[in-house]
């Protein structure tokens, strides 16, 4: 399949900081592409390059659309609206800036406002909207010209659960007509919405694929979390069976084991722990989540 967007060897440097380090990926028509990474990973810079707002130092982005000028819609991370215009005024204005006629912009604008639950306040000045309403208007402004590719940068930040569902459903509903590039910190949301995901950190692309494919890179799909009393003593680790335990990590009083076979692995962990007189407070068996992979790939250290 021919990609709608192809990024090849993108490099962007700000003085001494390498914000984007030789990133390449392809996005296909009609998919929702999740773009994940911690703060300062280079997501926004990459999006700016993809939208043409920023020139890369090296590499190129190819977009396969009929009209490149109308092909891109951007919903920035921060709220970008005209405070002194009403919802409808600004959505019509934005439509006209994409060469839509007044009637066309009004009709499509009203439909959009309806879909995003803003129709009843269409004549209210944007500065008088609540934070959630402004967020939804921010999304509507990116969609008025029916772009072929929509970049949604943290679209659900600051939304209440009801609004999140509304936005999620709306994003899914336009998927057939619009390719969506979604950046978010909400792993659950990314997993629910995205067809494919890529994780970047420190400007490098770490992994890409479907959520299931990414989860498998740790070598296991299941996880056992053990809460213990007192300090974690790791002397018992060498006694665990490496054929059953693919990896492990610790945080405070909690140890997480990536396991291959749940039942034998559980038996092995409990017996080793007992032999070493470690007191177990709580124990959980669960599926590996995208967040687990994200943390294992990007680490626990705080970012900017």
């Amino acid at each position: 399949m021919k990609p709608i967007l192809k990024a090849e060897s993108l490099v962007k440097r700000y003085d001494d900081v390498l914000a984007v380090d030789n990133i390449s990926f392809e996005i296909y028509r009609g998919e929702i592409f999740g773009f994940l990474g911690p703060n300062g990973a280079g997501k926004t810079t990459t999006i700016k390059i993809m939208t043409g707002l920023l020139e890369p130092d090296d590499g190129c982005v190819t977009i396969d659309c009929e009209d490149n000028g109308k092909s891109i819609g951007l919903c920035p991370q921060h709220i970008v609206i005209w405070e002194n215009l009403t919802c409808l005024e600004q959505i019509i204005y934005m439509g006209q800036m994409y060469n839509m006629s007044l009637n066309e912009a009004r009709k499509h604008g009203e439909e959009l406002l309806e879909s995003l639950g803003l129709y009843v306040i269409k004549d209210r000045l944007a500065k008088n909207l609540s934070g959630g309403m402004k967020r939804r208007l921010n999304i509507a402004l990116a969609l008025i010209h029916s772009p072929e590719i929509l970049f949604l940068d943290e679209p659900q930040a600051g939304l209440d659960p009801q609004s999140r569902i509304l936005v999620r459903d709306y994003v899914r509903s336009i998927k057939s007509k619009t390719t969506i590039v979604l950046t978010t910190h909400d792993m659950e949301e990314a997993e629910k919405l995205s067809d494919r995901i890529c994780i970047i950190d420190k400007g490098k692309l770490l992994v890409s694929g479907t959520a299931d494919e990414i989860k498998k890179i740790s070598g296991s799909e299941d996880l056992i979390e053990v809460d213990i009393t007192g300090e974690v003593h790791m002397e018992f680790i060498p006694f665990l069976n490496p054929e059953l335990i693919a990896g492990m990590s610790e945080s405070g009083n909690k140890i997480s084991f990536n396991i291959k076979e749940p039942v034998p692995a559980l038996e092995n962990i409990l017996s080793v722990v007992r032999e070493h007189n470690v007191r177990v407070n709580n124990l959980r068996l669960r599926k590996n989540s995208l967040e687990d992979i994200f943390i294992s790939l990007t680490g626990r250290s705080l970012r900017e």
Binding site: L74, P76, V80, W82, N84, Q90, Y93, M97, Y98, H145
Partner: protein, 380 residues
Amino acid sequence: MKVLSCFIKSFKENLRDWKILILAILFAPFFVYLMYMYLGNPKASFYNVAVINNDPGGLFSKELIREWEKMKTDKGKPVLKIQMVDDTATAKKMIKNRETDLFVTIPGDFSESFRTFLTDATGSVSPLTSYGDQANVKYMTAASFIDYLTYSYLGTKTGIELPMNMNYEFAGRGKILEEFDLYIPALLVLSIIMMLFTAGASIVREVEKDTITRLTLSKLTSAEFMTALTVNQIIIGLICLLLTLFSAFSAGYKTSCSIPLLFLIGALTSFSVISISIITACFIRTMFGLLTLGCFPFFILVFFSDCFMPLPKIDLFNLAGNQLYLNDILPTATATRAINKILNYDSTFSDISFEFIWIFALASVYFFIGIWLFKRKYKY
């Protein structure tokens, strides 16, 4: 179509962000009334003269003072306000405090010496002494009036005629221009300079809220954006000009100038101020910055456009027989001169054609510099 939409949107935003608009619209009319209070009000347009009469019983000294008091404007108001004081120290203190413009001392033997001169035709009349602050423009004027009236009085009394008299003719439209009249052109220009804030706000708002990014991604070109902004701000500039002119009329200012010509120059001056505001906005990212840092170019324009204080002229060069001065590098300074010619001297288009061309050329240069900076900064 996009230019029209952008124009309507900007106009709505300006109306709804009414605090800056009100500031821009009312600033110059406020100063018109302030100037009227100090300069235009007939009660305020006289010259204060403090007099010590050391010849209080003398006939001629009393007559002379009455002559001074008789001088009236063409509206029948006294020109000199004579205030009798008792001692020199008080009079000098009044000069230092600018409570009086001129201090005149009549000597104790003034009447006696004058009488002797009239009857015996010998000796000379004891001289008056005048004292004042040369830095005070009104001192020189008041001293000239006192000189003129005193020599006229002496001439009438003695029958001695000077071999030559000066004939005075006044510039303007056949009436005496008052100081207040001379400030009106500059205040009209000030009303347009205020657009530095409204025009700047139209750009800075887009930058501060990052809506400029949405416009960059859209099909609106920077040329279309600037055209809409310029037309919008020219209309606001002309509204400011009109309100300031009405304020001047309400304060008694009169003109028989060509109003269309005045508004043509007003529109051109607005264009020049918009150009400078585009340059200013390229260095400012927030509305707070505009209202603080933006004051610097604002005061530069106000200062060098003679809005509150006429500056001495520093020659720059002569162009096609027209002298250009240093402050003419700011189009608003040339605009003040052009509007003064239109308002106070009933000049026609041909009289101000050089100023018209100069303002247009300068405004265009500033406009293109502004566009270049804007495109460079915002990649738009």
